[in-house]
């Protein structure tokens, strides 16, 4: 058990990286508290797996340090770090039974046979594998195989962290949520820190207390699911999380608020330097916080998609598309529709990043 700190971490797969694009991880500073459930969320190729492999010790960072509590483990091998990792595709030892698979990490560490037996049975019970201990592991389904992979981490009592690299990729949809709730249950029971890598926002948001969003080799935001939803720090987070993603519209700014396509939207924004500099300014508002309102500005309705419990309305204004989420019973005006953005959930972004000092609530 340990707190995990990544300090000024950089990583490149190239021998001597020069340009920004050469770095798989540009600069990472993260601290993971002991016993937390974290998700590492980001699109494919953003460096999630690289980061995970650095924590487990399969890769050495090009720069920076990895700390477990106060100890610097940057130079240690995976076996000496006491970490466990579950991979995208189940890794099982074909020649062994389920029991043999679970006992393998303990036997490798020279544990006495009766201690191994007790531990294996305890973990098998936790994972509902107790009836299958004598079976050949290679004969089981993908979900049981993934449980075995996880079990090989759980049997070791000295594990600091269990990492999951998109572990549900090969699992049938109906088994996915069974396994996911099993994971949550095991997290509660064991209190082991878990880091869960995924590009699926549903998986990330349901599993984790804290989500780390990565984009192009950097962490763009760390927060609870609610924070990511309500206050995306970067337009990427706004796009990536939520379905449909956040509306991002070019805007201007002045003392009275934000100006979008000639319409002033009253917001308490600090104009300061931002307004004078020729930076790109955008406003971001989630489809959930766009409402029809007579005191708003005029739009045209381009398209309505009925998804059952809600409808997605595509609105058009000056060549921009604004998406809006309307409930089942919300009336959609047929003439002269006007909308407004909820000021509590409308953000202003400068060069992609949320502007500081801008009002939220």
């Amino acid at each position: 058990m340990a707190r995990i700190t990544l300090e000024r971490l950089r990583y490149s797969y190239l021998a001597d990286p020069a340009a920004d694009a050469d770095w798989a991880l540009r600069r990472i500073d993260v601290e993971w508290a002991d016993g937390g459930a974290y998700a590492l969320l980001g699109p494919s190729g953003c460096g999630k797996t690289t980061l995970l492999n650095i924590v487990s010790g399969l890769l050495r960072p090009t720069r920076g340090r990895v700390l477990f509590d106060a100890a610097d483990v940057t130079g240690l091998d995976p076996a000496d770090r006491h970490v466990a990792q579950v991979f995208q595709f189940p890794v099982i030892y074909d020649t062994m039974t389920v029991y043999g698979n679970l006992a393998f990490p303990l036997r490798n560490r020279g544990m006495a046979a009766d201690a191994v037996d007790a531990r294996v049975r305890e973990v098998a019970a936790m994972l509902d594998l107790d009836g299958k201990l004598a079976r050949r592991a290679s004969r089981l389904g993908a979900d049981d195989k993934q449980k075995i992979s996880l079990g090989r981490g759980l049997v070791r009592s000295d594990v600091n962290v269990i990492m999951f690299d998109e572990p549900l990729t090969v699992i049938d949809p109906q088994m996915k949520w069974v396994l996911r709730s099993k994971l949550k249950e095991i997290h509660r029971q064991s209190g082991i820190t878990m880091i869960y890598v995924t590009h699926d926002q549903t998986e990330a948001l349901t599993f984790a207390d804290t989500v780390v969003v990565m984009y192009e080799g950097a962490v763009v935001q760390i927060g609870t699911p609610v924070e990511l939803f309500e206050k995306p720090k970067h337009t990427f987070v706004g796009h990536f999380i939520g379905s449909p993603g956040m509306n991002v519209l070019p805007c201007g700014i002045d003392a009275g608020g934000v100006i979008f396509d000639g319409e002033r939207i009253p917001l308490d924004v600090s104009t300061g330097r931002a307004a004078q500099e020729a930076a790109s300014l955008e406003l971001g508002v989630r489809p959930e916080f766009v409402r029809f309102s007579d005191d708003g500005f005029a739009v045209e309705i381009a398209k309505v998609d009925d998804l059952g419990r809600h409808r997605i309305v595509d609105l058009r204004r000056g060549g921009h598309v604004i998406r809006m989420l309307a409930g089942e019973d919300d009336a959609i005006p047929s003439e002269n529709p006007r909308i407004r953005f909820d000021p509590a959930y409308t953000r202003v972004y400068r060069d992609g990043w949320m502007m500081a000092g801008e009002s939220g609530r």
Binding site: Y93, D94, T95
Partner: protein, 288 residues
Amino acid sequence: MIGKTTNQRAWLLVAPVVALVAFNALIPMMTVVNYSFQETFGDNVFFFEGFKWYQQVLTSERFHASFGRQLVFTGVILAIEIPLGVAIALAMPRSGPWASVCLVLMALPLLIPWNVVGAMWNIFALPDIGLLGRAVNGMGIAYNFTQDPVSAWVTTVAMDVWHWTSLVVLLAYAGLCAIPDAYYQAAKIDGAGAWAVFRHIELPKMKRVLTIAILLRFMDSFMIYTEPFVLTGGGPGNTTTFLSIDLVKAALGQFDLGPAAAMSLIYFLIVLLVCYVFFTVVMRDEEK
């Protein structure tokens, strides 16, 4: 079945294959079967002899001796080539420029015609002018493969190992390259040592390719002819006369067509039986 039609013209489409197989396999083989039950003194005069030739071959000292030599030879080269091939494959780099260099080097012996391999080793091992022969004799070891049975055997085995270990290497290497990285990473995290990685990951994952390697090497070595024929001609005496060399001696040297035909069918059945049993055992284990 709905819409199923019977159309005899389909036979026309398979006719070329039937003809091809008939001419290159069935007809020659039936000729041999034909010979094996008859006696001929030429002039196309045949006498039916029943199982006489089979009995004669199966009870003959000569067949037992060459069959025994064949078994020992195949056993020895399998015992050397399979572990050696796996060891070399494990030592080869998996990526980078050296991987290609190693692969090319490994493929070279396989590209050399069999009789050339025999001729190469013949000259290489000659005790008076060959590099190997001179060197070994220079070290004070009496070595002469044309006169000494032990020397002849060592040379024949060394030649086969040199020629064919590469095949095992390439197959094993392909098997190793197909193992996903995650297995090695998981093993590292599980604290597995090099032996455990080999025993529980690499060896089981190579099982299929090694089965193929063993089958190919068994069949090829069991039917080996050209190389020992060029190297030793089956001698000194009969000490390196393996089954196929013996067969050719009987059929073309002595022109005993009946016994030779019976012998070749027995020979064929042995190879078929061993391959079948081996394959079934391995695959049944796989099913379990």
